[in-house]
Symmetry: C2
Subunit: 189 residues, 2 copies
Amino acid sequence: MYEVELKCRADHDALREKLAELGAEHVDNRTQTDTYYDAPHRDFAETDEALRIRHEQSVDREGQPANSEAVTKITYKGPLVESESKTREEHETVVDSEAALEGVLSGLGFEPAATVEKDREFYTLEGYTVTLDNVRGLGEFVEIEREATEPEVETVRDGAVDVLSALGLDPSEQIRTSYLGLLLAAEDT
Amino acid sequence: MYEVELKCRADHDALREKLAELGAEHVDNRTQTDTYYDAPHRDFAETDEALRIRHEQSVDREGQPANSEAVTKITYKGPLVESESKTREEHETVVDSEAALEGVLSGLGFEPAATVEKDREFYTLEGYTVTLDNVRGLGEFVEIEREATEPEVETVRDGAVDVLSALGLDPSEQIRTSYLGLLLAAEDT
């Protein structure tokens, strides 16, 4: 399966009104702290890969931690296979112990390189996941996502563009740089 | 914490009698399939490290799968810090998806190198874990294990030697090579 994903900057208050008008369903809110790792044997910036530990906590509408426990995941993202929609191979699994996972990566020579923190508000609309992202240091964004098999990728991408338009956003203002990339670029200036 | 561990060859039928005499408590039986990985950037045989995916299934006394689900763990073992008792730094965590973990490792360039399969019968005796291991291709062994903080290592090792003697085994017949090492050596001959 591939992850088809479009992203652009968007004012969240305006977006919430639009989502309500279109009958989007609110799913949940989560805070994610993503730690990206450097590899000892490859320059991930050059190979266009990523290795990440994600610490995720469900929160209520006011941003307070919900009753459920925090979850830790390890994720590997391969290079782009379809650049238009940022489609990549991805492998992800939940792990029991974040500390042990950090120990495994550190033992193998992988080092934490950058951290991305964001508050995410999830909706579903016409089969797509619409996510309102508030990224620490970057501001407000929206992401339109859906999984697709390889032959579906183009159709699913066209549908994502339609959702973006329906939300009153301009598909030509898509941002193809990851939050990590945007943060690193902001640090450089 | 460090894992203090002694190991030697031992006839399991004789050992079970001894364990019963000494009042050891049977804990459970498990089948473990361990896949060891080669790294793309280091020769683990030279650096004395290991990276392993363990697939573990609880079994009943007859070796039939118990009701509990199989568990997958990732483990990193660092180089020996105390060679006498095979003490090493170790990081291990349970993961939800074995297939996703294999995808992460494969994406990063790690490759499966060797597999060790064993049936394990666990007992506790005087604070130590006594394990009767039947290793596919190698035969019957016993392991005496216990966790220790750094200052405790020597005392805990002496205690493990005492347990080995109490079980009628000769501490001078200890094997310091891992099952993986023994299997690779057997393949080479």
